[in-house]
Symmetry: C2
Subunit: 557 residues, 2 copies
């Protein structure tokens, strides 16, 4: 028999040290001892997974970790999905951690780039969510996992509530590798509404003085959707959803995709598409999906996480959302990424920059943003073997005789809100890679995975292009009045249009003059509340906007 690893041998002594800090109350540790606890269980050089999610945050534990004495706890290797909080960077600034593997750093992307430049930390790699989950099971297994849940009982059983995200995956990665699992919870109760994570997998539970932070990242106010977004949404339905019969799909976040959700019950219904398209979503509970759900457009939605304010609406729609016996949502980011990858025929999302090869990126100079989940869902899953009409048609158009293709659609206005052109000869990602020392530029979606690019000018169907030159020409046509677009003659589009490679609104039967906000099934947050039967309770920052002199509906929750 071989020796047990240091980690296995360490576990009992780490737990003994934890018990000494926490007192004698089993798995419970009082909040005021949290810093001592972390110092007791974490050793220099440990890999530590902290639950930094897209929406919810183990903020109390993050703050405690940033407060330990770096003389005692140092050289940590942080593994986390999202860097969302200043405390996620403070551990590097204070010399507690030196290495980072992650997936997304939206709000902290600029500071992260600065820290990398100053050698305060070394990035192992930027991942998609699903890649990072894969690696925490294989070669980034954590010694300590710091997670977050709604409630716990004294046996350590956890209730995550509707917003599960990474919790079960990070716990699984640590609990079965001799790691220590610490959960911050809002509340200790005698009886959980349901058990989401068995107490056998959890070592220590800390009641947090404040409820964990959670952000409503998937709420888009319909009032901010512009006519151009509606036009692009109409083209997406007419050029993609309808001809390919797209029934299973994932939407990125953004006003253009929110517009699609809001014109399903109007524009799509008028085209007779109810029951034919957009029946199965892999999506968080977007408030902008309410009108389509109420219109009976949507069979079901599988969720990565939840969305603040949508709890009651979701609980009342067990026909559509995954609901536990306790009546609340069950989400699961790892499984939803799998579902988005393998059970969907289409991914549609926005981007910031597209180059002449169709590569797209949200990376900009001086910011290390990361990828999140888009690359996983916005790529052709070549291990897919089951067919569907959408997948087969896309494969045929691409000239594939033996396999289908996933539809990957990028929607982007020719110019960003700040006036910068969205189409560029060279992505900022290349400069970022050079300055940050990455082996490859952080491309979000590769050009050879993109099937359609939609701008307010038209649709480029890249599946039908038979050469790189043709792809580039199609992209320059839909790039419109940008330097990128003006680099070819205005009549270059004629041949592409005849070949069905480029489609303008009129080719799709869409009158641009009537492509307006009038199509939106809800035009304000209040309209969404009304459509929900008063079940949707918008977070304060959206309620503030929703209160208008002429508001005819009242938020009931």
């Amino acid at each position: 028999m071989s020796d047990l690893s240091r980690r296995e041998a360490d576990r009992p002594s780490r737990l003994a040290r934890a018990a000494a800090v926490g007192g004698t109350s089993g798995k419970l540790c009082p909040a005021e001892r949290v810093i001592q606890l972390l110092a007791a269980i974490i050793e220099p050089g440990d890999r530590v997974a902290i639950e930094g999610d897209n929406q919810k945050q183990a903020d109390f534990l993050a703050s405690a970790l940033a407060s330990v004495d770096p003389a005692r706890v140092h050289d940590l290797h942080m593994v986390q999905s999202v860097l969302a909080l200043p405390d996620h960077l403070a551990v590097f600034e204070r010399g507690i951690a030196t290495r980072l593997d992650f997936a997304y750093a939206g709000p902290q992307s600029r500071r992260l780039a600065e820290l990398v430049a100053s050698n305060a930390l070394k990035i192992g790699a930027i991942h998609t969510y699903l890649e990072l989950y894969a690696r925490v099971l294989v070669d980034l297994t954590p010694q300590v996992a710091l997670v977050v849940a709604d409630k716990a009982d004294r046996d350590g059983n956890l209730y995550t509530g509707p917003n599960t995200e990474d919790t079960p995956t990070l716990i699984e990665a640590a609990a079965f590798r001799g790691g220590i699992v610490v959960a911050q919870v809002n509340e200790i109760v005698d009886h959980l509404p349901r058990v989401d994570v068995p107490g056998d997998w959890v070592d220590i539970v800390i009641p947090s003085p404040q409820s964990y932070r959670i952000d409503p990242l998937f709420t888009r106010d319909p009032a901010k959707i512009r006519n151009e977004n509606v036009l692009m949404a109409m083209m997406a339905i007419a050029a993609v959803y309808e001809p390919y019969e797209v029934r299973r799909l994932n939407h990125g976040i953004g006003y253009a995709t929110a517009a699609i959700e809001l014109i399903l019950p109007t524009f799509a219904a008028q085209r007779g598409l109810k029951g034919k398209i957009a029946r199965h979503f892999v999506l968080n509970p977007h408030p902008t999906l309410i009108p389509a759900i109420e219109a009976g457009f949507v069979d079901n939605v599988y969720c990565f996480g939840s969305e603040l304010g949508m709890e009651r609406y979701v609980s009342n729609h067990a026909d559509v959302f995954p609901i536990g016996a306790d009546g609340s949502l069950r989400s699961n980011r790892a499984l939803a990424q799998v579902a988005g990858q393998y059970a969907c025929d289409l991914f549609i999302g926005g981007t910031l920059q597209i180059d002449a090869q169709g590569n797209s990126s949200t990376a900009t100079k001086g910011r290390i943003t990361g990828f999140g989940g888009a690359p996983n869902m916005g790529a052709d899953p070549r291990g897919r073997r089951h067919d569907s009409p959408a997948w087969l048609r896309a494969g045929r158009e691409a000239g594939e005789s033996l396999r289908g293709r996933k539809l990957v659609v990028q929607m982007v206005q020719t110019h960003q809100p700040n006036g910068a052109p969205s189409f560029v000869e060279r992505l900022d990602a290349f400069d970022l890679a050079a300055s940050a020392g990455f082996a490859l530029p952080p491309i979000m979606i590769y050009g050879d995975d993109v099937t359609h690019v939609i701008t307010e000018r038209g649709v480029a169907n890249l599946l039908r292009c038979r050469s790189m030159q043709e792809r580039e020409a199609a992209l320059r046509v839909v790039a419109g009045d940008t330097e990128f677009g003006r680099r070819q003659s205005p009549d270059a589009g004629d041949g592409l249009r005849r070949g069905g490679i480029v489609m303008f609104p009129e080719d799709l039967g869409i009158d641009v003059a009537t492509a307006t906000r009038d199509w939106l099934a809800a035009r304000t947050i209040n309209d969404l509340v009304t459509a929900s039967g008063g079940l949707y309770a918008p977070p304060a920052k959206f309620r503030a906007q929703a209160v208008k002199p002429n508001a005819t509906t009242v938020t009931r929750a």
Copy 2:
């Protein structure tokens, strides 16, 4: 508020009917009432997920389902990973079920083809495991899930033991969609060794009269490994593992991959590769991995399921395998497929047929075999963004400037054991597709995903081929003395060899005369037992072979 679905409304009445059948003992239903129970909870037209796994089987429930009255329960849509038992087909033969979505049907592949031909059932699609899990969450959500576990308590908490496989995923898919979850267990106990699935997710528990069936599918007897397998294993290490520095990998099942595992501590160690290759496996606990583990070659192994006889060995190696606080393995097929897809740099496996484009298939005439997990792991995961030396080098060789490539290696002898050539102009899969009415032929691994083909003749590095003609020529060289190989002149290999596209053993410093079983770190099952320190307890069918007059070791368990 919209109406609740039929399913949601039905759940209470289904559970009430179940309670009436089972008596008044909460979630427990006596074994003798199982047929009445299934008839009470299943309604005509239901989608039913039955746990037909790669290794373990919900055999008691499968038998009961095949015994219900088809006049009462009919038109079921079966959703399951594997069709392994005659009862899995009996439901179609008896008119209880009519539709099937699945991933693998190895042992029942011939009978399945016959039933399809006679219109006894309609196949929705053949999936990889991960695709099927994705779809049970999205558009193949089950009304009833029939699963299997080792033990349950009276609250319905389940202990799956070391062999988890599909159990948590199928339960998650049903429990949160208003479905009914029924688990057969070997034993009802007061205190579980650990909780693997919370009782809140499980509706009914049935103690089965016999322990569930489980097969040792991942055991390969070293005595059956031939010199040719060793030669191919040596080439795999010299041509792939070593130059690409492959640290994270998955092995298919077969004698060639078993040979690789068994020459890590000999051939690979002699080349100085310990610590440099094969450190992180995504793999079931293959007995043939024992010598490499004992030699300290392997950092860790993440598992899809377990392997019969390996329980004690695995439990004693918490440094290598995922082990719970109870001391036994935690496996998880869904997460292991994710790990195999995204955290591995290499997949290597065998096949039955390869065509001129490099497409490979295990489908043969008259058998609908399915895919299992190979296509998921044997494909380039285009959503991958993190780099590694192996991935970057493969990408560079393929001429990619912006992304890496996964190494996908197919090992196949030029002839199958029955003498049939492994290289063919046309895969049997094409005929099967035509006769079974599939939209596309069931190709296991597509040629454009394969990076290396290894036969006893040599290695073809398809990454370096710059045209389809070059790929085809390389394949014909390694096809050796087959009709396929003889279709080009014997000296066609010279140019390919100079370009590093084809490598013969001598190009890799391997003397074919010394490529023998002598390299194997264990040559018999008994050797594996010895290497395990007596912890490996081979199943009876392997023990029978292992008992030899001159055996110098004793099975201790």
